[in-house]
Amino acid sequence: MTIKSEPFVVNIGPQHPSTHGVFRLRLTLDGEKIIDADMVMGYLHRSMEKLAEERTYTQNIPFTDRTDYLAAMTGNLAYVMAVEKLMRVEVPERALWLRTIMAELQRIASHAMAVGIFANDCGAWQTPVMHMFRDREKILDLFEMACGARLTLNYMRIGGVSKDIPPEWMPQARKLLKDLPKRFEEYEDLLLNNEIIIARSRGIGTLTPEQATSYSVSGPMLRASGVAWDVRKADPYGAYDKVDFDIAVGRHGDVYDRFVVRVAEMRQSLRILEQALDMIPEGPVHARLGTATVQPWGQPVAPLAYRPPVGEAYARIESPRGELGYYIVSDGSPAPFRFHIRSPSFINLSPLKLMSVGMTVADAIVILGSVDIVVGEVDR
């Protein structure tokens, strides 16, 4: 005898408090249990890859701010690294260090947001998010000092960064580095050992290393599954080969481990920052490109249009969400012939069905939160 039950289709999104943007999840439910999950994407598609083919290389940098708008620095970084590879530009030492510092600050800001929003998805009523926002605001203040913007930063340039940090930047950054560990301790106490969060997230949405690698998952999600893979270590860029840090790895690959890995990575970023602020050398922040040089506070004289040699380049970095890669093909004209983004949010989202089938609705939300997508990057 079989028992019939009516499947019940619920649309989570596109307008929903916890889809982190305009993302739609179609769940087929049996009671509260998920028997099927469909992802519907594209609500935020802005055709960035195609638009970029009509603009010069420098003009494309703002696009990279707007893919992953919670981590604009890393977006910039990956793109300019790809173009530099294409043009075979040697970036000055100080610029490399600045890029590293900015990328790590961005990682802390982004992870703070991810952890806070994750607690929100677990049902905490905004409190963790607001506390995380406090730290994120401080970091955004630093960004504002460095480049004048807070969210869409447009700081990196092909061959360096747009300008050097002002002299009062360093003391403020050091002060922040002194404050943050205390706060992180507080959050770890409140969140990592929070029994409700543990009950809600442990054993939920498990990905084994095999599943994770076969879905090409990267970043904290991959590391939560126990695979110690970090582009910063595996394929060092910037100044990461000169600083000492650890890869944070999870044990069981569940939602809780992703959360734990993010918290630990914030600590590691602090560690990198502490070393980097001491080790950063003096010098120019922009490479000599053609005839023009960018002066830190002088006239911007970098050419707007480069003509890289014909060829192709792929550069990858460890963005807060995972392995972010830019693939660029040049045909010798001032605009890229092909501009492709390997966006970690999109790829990390693909095992969502695998993770959520068999769980309940509440779990699906938590799993989606643990993937930490930015829809701007999913849809591009």
């Binding site: 005898m1 079989t2 028992i3 009516e6």
Partner: protein, 168 residues
């Protein structure tokens, strides 16, 4: 029981009870029928209050409105494709005749019998006495009732439990 308040209360509550009961018959949507049934239960609770049966009135609210109506709603929601209509079968007219007959007999008996009516006033307090009676004179039925409830709980769980997946 001849002060104005009680009389008004009786007629209002009796009207509510019977009106909602007729509503259950007439209404075509089952969920609306349940609402009408809740109205009947509530009216009855009020009638119990006019009979100074406060404990029973509260129990009526607790059990009938708070629990049994929910069971009805659940049963309706859990059987979604069977139609929510509240139609009668072909037995409509025989049923009408039967219930009319029963009503006539009952009313005749009620009116015609010379009831042995007491002149006492309403009870001051019933809960304590009911409790004592339940645990003293009626303790055996009380225990049997609890066993019955247990059996009912187990029975309903067994009935709606999904079959364990067969392994083949």
């Amino acid at each position: 029981m001849d002060d104005a308040g009680t009389i008004i209360a009786f007629y209002v509550l009796a009207g509510m009870t019977i009106g909602s009961a007729l509503g259950v018959v007439v209404v075509r949507n089952l969920i609306h029928a349940v609402i009408a049934l809740i109205g009947t239960f509530a009216g009855l609770a009020g009638l119990f209050v006019t009979l100074s049966a406060d404990f029973i009135a509260i129990t009526q609210i607790l059990i009938y409105i708070g629990a049994i109506s929910i069971l009805f709603l659940f049963a309706i929601v859990l059987t979604p494709q069977s139609g929510r209509n509240n139609q009668e079968t072909f037995l409509r007219f025989p049923a009408l005749a039967l219930s009319g007959l029963v009503l006539a007999v009952l009313v005749y008996v009620a009116v015609d019998t010379k009831w042995n009516v007491t002149e006492q006033d309403g009870f001051a307090e019933t809960a304590g006495t009911i409790g004592e009676l339940l645990l003293d004179k009626y303790v055996l039925p009380f225990e049997i009732a609890s066993v019955l409830l247990l059996v009912a709980v187990l029975g309903s769980i067994v009935l709606v439990r999904p079959e364990p997946a067969e392994e083949d």
